[in-house]
């Protein structure tokens, strides 16, 4: 086992990794930017080194500086966390060249799976279904029609140089191919100067389901079940759960075996995630492999009882997996909610500022992974996730109720958060029924008129009095000294509290 490791990350994931390392008797080295000088993760690590300015390009992405710190501090392994350098093959390679163990996949597997086309080819070779489509760019209408017929409608016309939705058209019937193609091509031509297109089967309202994989360096691979991550907005996951409501034991085994085949074929080791999209008929298609620890890994930990960071450290230090596929037991249901500093009512605009008060009630088995404490600032430099709130219950309903309870009890002052948005998602009938998909939030949920529920009489009275007491206090502060408690009685004798909008 390692004696000392460096964590090339910040925030909650650095806290998460440091915690496990300390529990295993492994010393920890944190690296920090100007902004993070006194952040929680730098406090709990055994050592901390300054590596640059706040923007990540000038600190957390400085591969050479980080390697230097590892050498200087005597760390023999680097855990990259997620984001930053975690999926950069060149960094894994640099570690190896400097005699430092990269706690993650090997650089060859990272590069291979990092290329979408190579990963897709690998999947096909190993009998893992991928979204049917063309591999070569096309321009000829009759050929496009012929291929679309084979794939089956609806199809997606995609500019080969495309991106950001430009040069993309969904075509539902053959008659529309020519006009859609012309539009996609002209958009592609003007945006990218290239009018060739790909054709792909269009998967309507898909689910995003991913499998957690553990692979040691001796070719042993197991899966730890799925995570359903379809509650997304603009490709950002918001709520994740395991198991998925659509999963049967047979489908889990089948998809899990697919995931294992891909990582095995890639010569992969350490923890990884194989992502699939699943259509309405539970047909699944391979999407990509994330060659790192995922943000949402704790729901798998809660359901399997394993510590994935511990397994990562064991694998990286050359140990064999200590269990087989049949030893893995899945218990209960687990949910993650990502609490973010953003204003859900103002188009999810990130919210920055100082957190002046932070309190949550983590009783009854709730788990929270966070790198933030009261008094911290939320800055523009890093992503807006404040905290991951995690629940685990005997069944799905219990897990949901626990999460709702914890979200309601969560108190945060100083910045705007998405907590009430998370609650309204957990309360909507589609989530309760498990009937949701990756476009649900944007195409359905956010288009609804928000329901206007009036508070009951006592609650309205309490809110009214709260507003008054608060104003009174603010007022009292301004006038200060020569006012005693009478302020309450005299200044604001009769007030009106009004809810508007």
């Amino acid at each position: 086992m390692f004696k000392k490791i460096l964590i090339a990350n910040r925030g909650e994931i650095a806290v998460r990794i440091i915690s496990t390392a300390k529990e295993m008797g492994v010393k920890t080295v944190a690296v920090y930017s100007d902004f993070d000088k006194y952040s929680l993760f730098t406090q709990i690590a055994d050592e901390a080194y300054h590596i640059g300015e706040s923007p990540s390009a000038k600190s957390y992405l400085k591969a050479e500086t980080i390697i230097e710190v590892a050498k200087k501090s005597g760390a023999t392994g680097i855990h990259p966390g997620y984001g930053f350098l975690s999926e950069r093959g060149f960094f894994a390679k640099m570690c190896e060249e400097n005699g430092i163990k990269f706690i993650g996949a090997g650089y060859k597997a990272i590069d291979l799976l990092g290329s979408k086309t190579e990963a897709k080819t690998l999947a096909l070779k190993n009998n893992v279904p991928v979204v049917p489509g063309t591999e070569k760019p096309l321009t000829d209408v009759s050929e496009i029609k012929k291929i679309s017929k084979i794939i089956g409608y609806p199809v997606l016309i995609k500019a080969s140089a495309g991106g950001g939705g430009k040069g993309m058209r969904i075509v539902r019937k053959e008659e529309d191919i020519e006009s859609s193609l012309r539009m996609a091509q002209s958009e592609a031509k003007s945006s990218f100067g290239d009018d060739s297109v790909f054709i792909e089967k269009y998967i309507e309202s898909p689910r995003h389901i991913e499998f957690q994989i553990l692979a040691d360096e001796f070719g042993n691979v197991i899966h730890l079940g799925e995570r359903e991550c379809s509650m997304q907005r603009r490709h950002q996951k918001i709520i994740e759960e395991t198991p998925s409501v659509i999963m049967s034991p047979e489908l889990r085994t089948e998809m899990g075996e697919c995931a294992k085949r891909i990582v095995k074929a890639a010569g992969y080791s350490n923890a990884g995630t194989v992502e699939f999209i699943v259509d309405k008929n539970n047909k699944y298609y391979f999407l990509e492999v994330n060659t790192r620890l995922q943000v949402e890994h704790p729901i798998t930990e809660l359901r399997t009882g394993l510590d994935l960071v511990r397994e990562q450290l064991k694998i990286a230090s050359g140990e064999k997996l200590s269990f087989r596929q049949e030893d893995i037991e899945f218990k209960g249901h687990s949910i993650e909610c990502r609490i973010c500093a953003e204003d859900s009512e103002a188009n999810f605009m990130p919210s920055t500022g100082k957190i002046t008060y932070m309190k949550n009630v983590l009783s009854n088995g709730m788990r929270e992974d966070t790198g933030i404490v009261q008094g911290n600032e939320i800055s523009v430099y890093y992503d807006p996730m404040i905290s991951k709130l995690l629940s685990h219950g005997a069944d799905r309903k219990t897990a949901i109720e626990k999460m709702k309870r914890a979200l309601r009890d969560y108190k945060l002052v100083g910045i705007k958060t998405n907590i009430s948005f998370l609650l309204s998602l957990l309360e909507c009938k589609e989530f309760i029924n498990g009937n949701y998909h990756t476009q649900f939030i944007e195409n359905e949920f956010l288009k609804r008129e928000s329901e206007l529920t009036k508070p009951d009489e006592d609650t309205a009275a309490a809110v009214s009095l709260a507003g008054m007491l608060f104003k009174e206090k603010a007022n009292g502060r301004k006038i200060s000294t020569n006012h005693s408690n009478n302020t309450l009685k005299n200044n604001w004798i009769k007030k009106r509290v009004e809810n508007y909008r």
Binding site: A461, K495, R496
Partner: protein, 162 residues
């Protein structure tokens, strides 16, 4: 998420008694922090956090992660309100300012352009996220103060509307 149409009249009768909407309540309270209020009203517990929105002049009172927007008014405010003539729509903003520091990653409008409600003026990139700044009503662009790729500070003037 926001409740509508509720108007309450409250009067504090004594240190532990209040008259709210015609009902008398006993209460106890303690500010646990500047913006955190524990209130016990007729023995029912309420744990509030409160944010003040200075710009718009209301309080955001959060109870169990449900947000109530509240405008407190004193008796004096009410009298003044009755005396003043209807001021019309005062919230008609002519200046679009940056809500946070960031970089203009996309600029969709030019001077003199007519813009419809809901159209995206520009995209502001901050905290690794793209944020669309949209038109709250139909308008015409009088002046564009920024360019693509330019970085802006919080409250920096982005656009001027006619």
């Amino acid at each position: 998420m926001v409740d509508t149409g509720v108007t309450s009249e409250s009067e504090i009768l004594n240190f532990d008694k209040a008259l709210i909407n015609g009902n008398e309540y006993n209460f106890e309270y303690k500010f646990l922090a500047d913006n955190v209020l524990m209130l016990r009203l007729n023995n029912k517990n309420y744990y509030f956090t409160i944010n003040e929105n200075d710009e718009e002049g209301y309080l955001e009172i959060n109870l169990n992660s449900r947000v109530f927007k509240v405008i407190p008014k004193s008796e004096l405010d009410l009298i003044l309100e009755k005396l003043s003539v209807n001021k019309g729509d005062v919230k008609d903003k002519k200046e679009i300012v940056s809500p946070m520091p960031g970089i203009i990653s996309k600029l969709n409008v030019s001077e003199g352009q007519k813009v419809n409600k809901g159209d995206v003026f520009l995209v502001l990139e901050a905290m690794k996220m793209e944020n669309e700044i949209k038109a709250k009503k139909d308008c015409v662009i009088k002046k564009v103060n920024v360019a693509e790729k330019k970085s802006v500070e919080k409250n920096e003037l982005l656009l001027l509307l006619e």
